[in-house]
Amino acid sequence: MSSVAATPASDPHALHGAGHRAGLDAGWSGPPSKRIITGYGFWIFILSDIVMFSAFFATYAVLHGQTAGGPSGHDLFDLRNVAIETALLLASSFTCGLASIAADLRSAIWFQLAMAVTCILGLGFLGLEGHEFTALVARGAGPTRSAFLSSFFTLVGCHGLHVSAGILWLLTMMAQVFAKGFRPDIQRRILCFALFWHALDIIWIAVFTIVYLLGSAA
């Protein structure tokens, strides 16, 4: 029942504030590690991001019939293209998981390889989405055409912006691991990046179901 008050010496950024109170409560195992605090804080951010997306989803669900005499989802959506996008993003989520295993094993080569594959798959997704958007605008179905298309471009475009930001973050992490190695603070950033990338794939599940599959059926 002693020695539980020990604070982690390996991590210089760990919180020390309440460490001396440990003796008062034998069941208290000391302040949580910086990794738990950082990861939990980022988890809260991801959940708030999902709440923001839920507002866009609600907007789309309310407006998807308001086509103002223009084309509806059934006329516009190409499900083959969406299936390829889904496959790319799912595969990138898997390789991102492989990258976090490699980071825990401190294998720089496998980490860089898995992150590079994740990056290529993410860029392929963005390329297909950009191609879809430009094709829609070219045939007169841009965001100004109807309330349905405004909400479509806002929702899917916002997800695309998140993927773009994720790819910039991904490249930053590759560079940081290359330059600084697997330091504890770099490992925490890799944890947060993996959370972000997997969360983007979860949001894409809602996008392809609500926007494309349900939208093209109606």
């Binding site: 982690p8 990794r35 989520s93 599940i205």
Partner: protein
Amino acid sequence: MSSGHDEADREFDLAPGDEHAESFSQRMVGYLAGLGLAILLTATSFFVAGTDLVWQPSIPVALVVLAIAQMGVHLVFFLHITTGPDNTNNVLALAFGVLIVVLVMGGSLWIMANLNHNMMPMDQIMQMQR
């Protein structure tokens, strides 16, 4: 009980995204199982959306159920959100997020459908304004 700090953390809390220290092969099996289930559910979604084999009005419900199932698969196998005691805080935060999402989406659809139902058709409003 004289465990080190890292071990004590592992016993009581786990960062979201982290999983219990397992062997390399166990973790690989976890990600592969998640990938397999996700492919299965996605393929089913795309198949159900375009098929004539099932009763048509059931398709939207089936798609929503498949999507929620796949989100669960991603949460468990990729984000490692589990029901274990080391995950209580992560699950509680997730539960609150889900509550807000359900309120925002369900509330918006409910209110807008109700307004739509009670509003006079647009051409009649236009006539009254003349």
